[in-house]
Symmetry: C2
């Protein structure tokens, strides 16, 4: 895609750049894949935490979406979005803000996986006259939170919620284990397992006489490779909007699908060591080393020209707060990277890199740069 180098080159580095054409292509692909299979897409807004991005990601203001913090929920509600799942286990200290969202008319859904949480929710709801919409978290692969689908607590919690003035809206699971897959076949297997776990939990709840309208699954890898969504209502995915090097290593995207980079300036050379120093350290790139345990280790990110064309095998090899070091392979010399030149660094993990920035520069079409602010805090 054509780049207006003049406008980009006058920006103060480091900054985060989004290639809007790639971003839109990624959105369209998954939206189409999921709707062709009869499911709704409930995008996770946590990667960019941007109202501007949500305008592209969500078909309308009532489209389902996922958030990772109450701060996001409040900001997206302020922007007019009405269907938000807060996908982190709820605790009592957050119920007041959750209730406030419901009272202003938001279809705000909370998540739990224990009877203690369920009791805290129903007690608060009855005391403050608010009907909480609840998802029960199901553990499909043992990687984090949730209850095994056949754990009797799933039905017990559903019954408690249903009988005590809250609404059991659904079950959800996240196949986070799919991030450590070694092949697309393994991702497909993780997807099948994820769908089965969620389906089984929903069926157990329904068999106990409690309605369970929504069965929600998803992770970016499984959303791209799941083959059978029987019984599934909706699919969640987050990092698919920009992808990253972790997703590249997993085979979920190709290099030219990656829509996020950090633009940086060369600030020095160490000629003896064949090192290029840049003004992007972990403050701009993040400390994420997600590719360290994968097929190809990209250090702190893959180095690209200011046009976006990647240098094969050239990575940011170490970082301090505001310094990055590119230890060049013997096939390159520092003279190819003059002091003052701009480079782009593709991120290991887009969520972590975006989290280091308060806004993003978004390159649209040939010459338009937009600024998208990020929603900050909790």
């Amino acid at each position: 895609m054509p780049v207006n180098q003049n406008e980009l080159s006058t920006q103060q580095t480091p900054f985060l750049l989004i290639d809007h054409a790639r971003f839109m292509r990624n959105l369209t692909y998954l939206q189409q894949r999921i709707s062709e299979r009869g499911c709704a897409l409930r995008p996770h807004l946590k990667t960019l935490r941007s109202v501007d991005a949500a305008h592209d990601m969500l078909p309308n203001m009532n489209s389902p979406a996922t958030v990772s913090t109450l701060a996001e929920a409040e900001a997206f509600a302020d922007a007019g979005y009405t269907d938000l799942l807060y996908a982190v286990g709820i605790t009592s200290n957050k119920l007041e803000r959750a209730a406030a969202l419901i009272k202003r008319g938001i279809n705000f859904h909370i998540l739990l996986d224990s009877l203690e949480q369920a009791q805290a929710v129903t007690q608060f709801g009855q005391k403050h006259d608010v009907v909480f919409s609840v998802f029960i978290e199901i553990d499909s692969d043992g990687h984090r939170a949730g209850l095994a689908p056949n754990n009797p607590l799933v039905v017990e919690i559903a019954k408690h919620v249903h009988a005590n003035g809250a609404q059991l809206t659904g079950v959800m699971t996240h196949a986070g284990g799919s991030y450590s897959s070694d092949s697309v076949d393994e991702i497909r297997a993780a997807a099948a397992q994820e769908c089965e776990a969620a389906r089984n939990a929903a069926e157990a709840i329904r068999a106990a006489g409690v309605p369970c309208p929504i069965v929600s699954v998803g992770s970016t890898p499984t959303a791209h490779f799941a083959e059978d969504f029987t019984g599934i209502s909706e699919v969640r995915a987050g990092v698919y909007t920009t992808f990253d090097l972790v997703m590249l290593n997993l085979g979920v995207c190709s290099l030219d699908d990656i829509a996020m980079s950090v633009v940086t300036t060369v600030i020095g050379h160490n000629k003896e060591k064949n090192w290029v120093l840049i003004d992007a350290g972990w403050m701009a790139l993040s400390r994420d080393r997600g590719t360290a345990s994968q097929r190809i280790d990209y250090g702190y990110g893959l180095v690209c020209k200011d046009s976006g064309a990647p240098y094969e095998g050239v990575c940011v090899t170490s970082v301090n707060q505001e310094h990055g070091v590119i230890a060049l392979p013997a096939t390159h010399t520092v003279n190819e990277f003059p002091i003052g030149a701009q480079l782009r660094i593709l991120p290991n993990h887009a969520c972590a890199t975006a989290a280091m920035h308060q806004h993003y520069m978004v390159l649209k079409n040939t010459d338009e740069l937009e600024v998208w602010p990020r929603i900050l805090g909790w």
Copy 2:
């Protein structure tokens, strides 16, 4: 130190807490150590990037300080601070903002280690009628940027700066290699090497007839253990204000010197696996794994009670964006960590953890909570 649990427990988690009594004790210790040895302390403000913290860290508005970004320099200048060293190699695209600081009367110092940079600086200075104050960066341990003290370029750059309308204010080096020391003796050796490198560079410049008034050294480890500051004007240090688990492992501080923690709430249990889930993931703790290669690996942080008392051997073992997992050792059970309970997590690397927050809660004396905003961006 007494804690008003009520006030702390009503804060929305996760949040970053600073124990002000420990913070002040850390400041006083290093300030006294350095002034007793006849040097000035030029604190690095990059860890907290907070004007409120600077008020405690700097004796007066003209005290020397160090910053890692132009955004910090501008914000501290706005707050009235007048002597700021920007300790990242300068490039042409940043000279306009640097010049603006000088034109408003700030003693703003820039850093360089190449003739290309020096020429860009003097050309810009002559064209725009501004006298840049320059430090030359010296490499004392091969870990990052800078020129070896005996590299003829040191003198060549000094002469160029001096002859072309800029001011050669000094030389500086940062013994970043001291962070990978295995003992206090190694830190002492790194400190001696750091001072010698800076001294030698300054002497070479002076022997060539160019004044070099300031000889600046420092890193938190070397600042605490250097024994001989002969010929050194000033010492820089940053993370000493709050310390962290990396500094604990290095033997630079003790556990009860650590003045920063992330306050979090227990959001779930996995009883089968003996896991406690908390609402602090890498968004609140950072992805920094600085202790991974050290004596004791603290995972993503050491777990403490809400009073601040540490649980020996209990760490955050894995993180996602907004989830932390504490895989308990067999000596503990999840029942000791009820859902809804608050915990504090001590950080691996205070700079990285602070960078994830937009403000800090500061606990002063027995019951006063202050909010310190962080300066954001570049």
